[in-house]
């Protein structure tokens, strides 16, 4: 209760909560398309690939301004996606191997650069390694404004091209037959996912960002059969997980933000999977048990009848 009150008065707390909520909304919305296109793990590869981008941006500019570092992250994430696409399209290596290759080698490069920077730049890298697990407590108002602008643009594009993205996700061949440039649409959607990842790096970190895209979408899907509703719910669930995780983490400085957000999110996903009204697993199990019992009872009855007749 005290925490909730501080939410409106405490400067740090307000920034943290706002930042985490923003991240949750943007990644929840875009994650819906990623999950429905069966590209959930692309976000994982993207976020890992972003790490060397952060480092290179820092080495080149010497600046630790989030905007600079995030630009580097976005660029590297983009390069990673292009590589994955190229490998899948032009070789016999399957998509999941291509994801694994880009993810692990880019991340390796990021770690090499991180350790190199720490030894050659007067141990001045303290700001960089927080991108591994995220540290929401370090968010300041200008960070939140950056996130809001980036996320706002991404959401605006989704709003404008909702019809096109929906068609692309459901039936790309039909979309192409209608004359929509599915190639460009697809690249556009991936770019928006890169933006969502970039927004999340400061708060959740590269390691766990994948869940921020996948979790809210999967949870939301259980509650509704309509895409527009799923997107809205995913944004809400993402925001809820973001805020609660960030607040838990701020309340105890030992707890890193990213993992706390992901744990909150996991709880929401599990609750949705089990207890969502129509698709909930719990209800399905109950139904099954009732049926089985009814069947057993039926068998008993017929057995009794037979017994009575003989």
């Amino acid at each position: 209760m005290k925490l909730l009150l501080e939410l409106f008065t405490d400067y740090t707390l307000r920034n943290v909560a706002l930042g985490a909520a923003l991240l949750g909304i943007v990644s929840g919305v875009l994650g819906c398309f990623a999950v429905l296109r069966r590209q959930g793990l692309l976000g994982d590869a993207l976020s890992h690939a972003a790490l060397p981008g952060i480092c290179v941006a820092f080495v080149l500019t010497g600046s630790k301004a989030p905007l600079v570092l995030l630009a580097g992250a976005g660029l590297a994430g983009w390069v990673g996606t292009l590589l994955i696409n190229r490998i899948v399209r032009d070789t016999r290596i399957s998509e999941d191997s291509a994801l694994g290759i880009v993810l692990s080698t880019f991340f390796g490069l990021g770690i090499v650069l991180l350790t190199w920077i720490s030894k050659h730049n007067n141990a001045n890298q303290a700001g960089l390694d927080r991108y591994l697990f995220g540290q929401a407590a370090t968010l300041v108002a200008s960070n939140v404004v950056t996130m809001a602008v980036l996320g706002g643009v991404a959401l605006l594009v989704v709003l404008l091209l909702y019809k096109e993205f929906k068609l692309l996700t459901f039936d790309p061949a039909f979309a192409a037959s209608l004359g929509f440039n599915t190639n460009r649409l697809s690249i556009g959607l991936t770019t928006l996912i890169v933006v969502a990842v970039v927004i999340g790096l400061q708060t959740v970190g590269v390691v766990l960002m994948a869940a921020m895209l996948i979790g809210p979408a999967v949870a939301a899907r259980q509650w509704t059969n309509r895409l527009s509703m799923m997107i809205a719910l995913a944004g809400l669930i993402g925001a809820l997980a973001g805020v609660s995780g960030a607040l838990i983490s701020v309340s105890d400085h030992h707890l890193p933000t990213g993992p706390m957000i992901i744990l909150s999110l996991t709880v929401l996903v599990l609750v949705s999977l089990f207890f969502a009204p129509a698709r909930g697993l719990a209800w399905a199990w109950l139904r099954q048990r009732r049926q089985r019992r009814a069947m057993r009872a039926g068998r008993w009855q017929s057995k009794l009848k037979q017994g009575g007749q003989s």
Binding site: D96, L99, G110, V112, H254, I262
Partner: protein
């Protein structure tokens, strides 16, 4: 043993152990499952320590291996609910496991030497300091023994179950029909992957384990079509990356594990571009050659189709080719030129005619295709 030698040897052993299993992961399209397992190690270690009431190595090892298997099981369970797709299931389970691990570490083990950074990077740099003593005899670096053991274990696993692994990888249905349960093989493989991941990650960290499992195997997959050769090349690539990575790290004074991962990537990049069979450059060249050959055959078939028709004069003119076949004038010119030179067609002013050889080839073209399709029907 010198520190340098110990590090290099550990690196080579880790890469070899990982590369052997990686081949099957790549072929079975389970690369990201390996990624998931590697993230589950952390909570497993913590749980092991928790039960053993301290940083007990054996307990940690068992806990982590169990956590790896639990991850695989959870992914399967989630997938089987048919409420989420396979890749979403992976993407939910492993972050949750890893987050749980970091949470437990920061809550209960802040004093123990186990932090998330070490989980990600590993500390192969210090292998020579962590030594194994039997009684008071110094047996050498502990990691060397662990990784050597895992190498032997994986080598034995692949050698003993080679036939089963191969069958289950390429034809799960046949394997099941022959009495080799694909499910059993799947979990056996995942069990070995889990144990290897745990052993390897203390040395090189979670992400590098993934790099060493997947990237050398994928590199080998670009270089050969035969499984035994693929296993050999993968081990070689992994070992080479370990040695190269060490030197680069030394030169840059940077993370050894990271450098090794980058080197696996560099080797993969080289194979991606220059593999004689599956490389992008070879493919590009072959495609250009095939395109011309194919265009020539198209021309022959086109001429054959229209030579009896009343409008043959119009259909089979050079000009018509770029018009009707939608070829650029340049492509049309090259195709006609090479076909003329090969004696497949002859040119009479603007009109193109098949030679006897050309007609035979055109008919053969149609026939082989038709035979092939009727075989498919039967």
């Amino acid at each position: 043993m010198s520190t340098m030698l110990a590090i290099i040897l550990t690196g080579v052993l880790v890469s070899s152990a990982c590369a052997l299993l990686g081949c099957f992961l790549v072929l079975r399209r389970m690369a990201m499952l390996a990624d998931a397992i590697s993230h589950a190690v952390l909570p497993g270690l913590v749980a092991g320590y928790f039960i053993a009431n301290g940083p007990n190595i054996l307990a940690g090892f068992l806990g982590a291996a169990a956590a790896g298997l639990i991850t695989v099981l959870l992914v399967e369970l989630l997938k089987n609910t048919r409420r989420i797709g396979g890749e979403s299931a992976i993407g939910i389970v492993f972050p949750a496991m890893f987050a749980l691990g970091t949470f437990l570490v920061s809550r209960y083990f802040t004093n123990v030497h186990l932090d998330a950074d070490a989980v990600l990077y590993g500390n192969i740099e210090f292998v020579n300091f962590d030594r194994w003593f039997i009684g008071s005899t110094d047996m050498g670096p502990q990691a060397l023994w662990v990784m050597g053991g895992l190498c032997v274990l994986n080598g034995l696993f692949v050698a003993l179950f080679y036939k089963e692994l191969k069958l289950a990888t390429f034809d799960a249905g046949l394997a099941a029909a022959l009495g080799f349960s694909p499910v059993l093989i799947h979990y056996a493989l995942m069990g070995v992957v889990s144990v290897t991941t745990v052993g390897a990650f203390t040395a090189v960290g979670a992400i590098l384990v993934v790099a060493l499992m997947i990237v050398p195997a994928a590199t080998a997959y670009l270089l050969t079509d035969r499984l035994p050769l693929m296993l050999g090349i993968a081990v070689l690539c992994g070992s080479l990356a370990a040695v190269l990575g060490f030197w680069v790290a030394l030169a840059l004074d940077a993370s050894v594990a990271g450098s090794i991962a980058v080197m696996t990537g560099v080797l993969f990049g080289l194979a991606l571009l220059w593999s004689p069979t599956h490389g992008l450059i070879a493919k590009q060249r072959r495609r250009a050659r095939q395109r011309l050959h194919f265009a020539r055959q198209t021309l022959l078939v086109h001429l054959l189709h229209h030579e009896a028709a009343s409008n043959a004069a119009a259909e089979n003119s050079v000009q018509h080719l770029s018009g009707e076949l939608r070829w650029t004038p340049e492509l049309a010119r090259r195709v006609v030129e090479t076909a003329l030179r090969a004696g497949l067609i002859e040119q009479d002013a603007e009109l193109l005619r098949l030679t006897a050889v050309g007609r035979e080839q055109a008919q053969a073209n149609l026939q082989t295709r038709a035979l092939f399709t009727s075989a498919a029907v039967a």
